[in-house]
Symmetry: none
Subunit: 224 residues, 4 copies
DNA sequence: CATGAATGAGAGTTCATTCAT
DNA sequence: TATGAATGAACTCTCATTCAT
């Protein structure tokens, strides 16, 4: 009873963020006014400013929450699949799904990072940052395990490499998402297929050479 | 005579766009007000709206111009280099440089394309679209030539593949650009180096390799 | 035609100020919202901020205008009356009437002066300041003339003295105005009569009186 | 017991009022928020409203307390001095000092009185009102005594006259206080000296003077 | 009694865009 | 064509005050 105080704020924050999230998805962040958020959340506008510094912070909060969700779906994905390749694909697909579900938060995550020197800070920017680190951890350990089991080329996988892979995959997602109509018109290809094929190519960069031997040519031929 | 009338407006458009371009680079598009653009261009604010439908169109116009510039640096890049690998690298670097110079226009190019069914239209969206197609042509013919000369795997290169490559590269650029500070801190790596390494990896996907020759089927079979 | 630009702003300023003035009189400055002013003036709120920096500036503008009005009624008052005593009384009554008509602006005038070092400035604070100086001039020259004509004690009248008189009179006005109800209840006296009597007392301080002559010198001499 | 209950709230009221008083002096009434008062007093904001109807009432309470203080310094002043003139001057100076110390409460006292018909009421407005009456008493009896001792003109001194004097003096104080900078710049005169001189002039209105005697009567007689 | 929480209301400001001339 | 002027529509922020517990 007495210790409800620590939870209360979160309830309201979530209620507001939920409403904002709905509006943001529906109309986009920029086209959603704080008045609309307030109305949708059932609070007064002033109350919004009690729980969030401003509109950007609501978006940042939702970004963080969406990232947490993504992290979970990612770790679920990599632990669900048996083969290492399937894990890789599942991870990529998780990113793809995330970007499709929350395009705007994904955009925010792709914009310049605010590096918080203060690791003890607990604002949503810091949380987002830390969530990013956790995602890196998941991927790193996943690849390391694969390497040890002989599934991947036998070298140390570094954050740099993670970022290489991540960047490439995110780039594919971006094309699949943003150029969806063009892909359909110009190549007759659905974004999922486009992404999937690209993802396989990226995976081939990691594969051990012997087994890697015989694929590829057909892929693209068959892709269409 | 008739031509003269068509040209006059362009002078003003360019004058406005130049001024806007300077401001946009300096302060970013969103943080530049139409007042500032008007002042910098030496016109009244209302006049801006005579030559451009709105602020977004000014950005679109500048995006198109920057894209033209990029197209030229790209075709220069691929024609300058002797080896096909160098051409590939040069093309990637051209994109990298472009994104560094005009991050905001690059962002715009990465956002959803407005497909103009009306190919005869002459607004800057259509022009941008057509410029995009020309860039695709350049890359396609470049790769085709390489293939014919035996530098690349011997298969038909499609727009899809171009987009795969393009997406991956753009993804690397994005990371290099947006996560610059993080890369320096977490991996001690400069963005150029990060990008360069990733670019080489992507190139390796294209390289002719005896062993690599005959695979794929598997992927495609399992992939879908 | 071409030179209408210098006048236009004034028209709107006045229109806004008029509307604001009406509202201010009706509900008081503090209880009048900018939205109400905008509505009453027939402009949008944003337009208000085109012509006035903020609410305070509207009040300052109206204060200045009311002061100009007062200056005129004052100079009319002193030029209308034949005897010097009547002039003095008329001047006091002018202040009384002013304070009754515009209590809030009078309050503003009684609050600390913003001394503008920049005499070339043309904001309404500077104008108010200059109008104050002009009022001082009127009173000074009026008293000087009276002195020369033998109606007042034969000594130099200084700004300090003007302020002494002014302060006393303003003090009476304030009591008459603010303590109106109390005066009626406790002394059964109407504010006008109360003020009038006090004013006569103050005037007696100036009157030439053989005996008073040297008395005063001492006061002033001994005062410091 | 019954008394105890009456006293407890006062403790809190005083604690709050003290804190508010400190803030008010430091930042002015308007610029002090209830949050600040609450923080300074060590209560929650809502608790402020348990002990005071609203912010204005806190100011009114402090005004009353400051007035009590003034009443004491006034009665001390008039009883301390031997000569009646000195008493008069001391009374004026007491007001001057009060206004300098508590400009905002002084302003409040100069604003329209809330006449409480209900003399049994015990809110701070009534208390302030009664304190005002007591001050009037002090001044009246003081002047009456002076008259009886032949120091002042031999006539009945009324509340009206007290208010005349009071108004004039308060007017001088106001000028000395609010126009301080102007006086220094335009007349090179310090506010204290300015006030002192004016005060002496006002005193001269009361002095016994054979010739002045009947002059005054007429004025007052004619005034009504 | 004490208070955490919520809020109505309004100030101030910004800006892209429109419109009459 | 060019533009001065006006404005709708926000966002951001602040605060006194209320109310349920």
């Amino acid at each position: 009873m007495a210790r409800r105080k620590k939870e209360d704020p979160e309830i309201h924050q979530n209620r507001i963020a939920d409403a904002a999230g709905r509006m943001f998805l529906e109309k986009g962040i920029r086209n959603t006014t704080m008045d609309e958020v307030a109305r949708a959340a059932g609070y007064s506008k002033a109350t919004l400013y009690v729980y969030f510094k401003n509109k950007e912070e609501i978006a940042a909060f939702l970004t963080w929450k969406s990232m947490k969700q993504f992290k979970e779906s990612l770790s679920e994905a990599v632990s669900r699949e048996a083969s290492y390749k399937d894990r890789f694909i599942a991870a990529g697909v998780a990113l793809y799904n995330y970007a499709m579900q929350y395009p705007e938060y994904n955009q925010i995550l792709l914009s310049p990072i605010v590096i918080s020197r203060d690791t003890s800070a607990d604002d949503c920017y810091s949380r987002t940052y830390r969530a990013g680190e956790e995602i890196n951890e998941i991927l790193l350990s996943c690849m390391d395990e694969a390497r040890k089991n002989g599934a991947l080329q036998d070298r140390e996988y570094t954050v740099t490499e993670i970022f290489h892979l991540w960047g490439m995959i995110a780039g594919l997602v971006q094309i699949a998402q943003q150029k969806r109509d063009y892909l359909l018109l110009a190549c007759g290809q659905k974004p999922e297929a486009f992404f999937r094929e690209g993802l396989e190519k990226i995976y081939s960069l990691l594969e051990k050479k012997e087994e890697q031997a015989m694929n590829d040519t057909v892929i693209c031929g068959g892709g269409k």
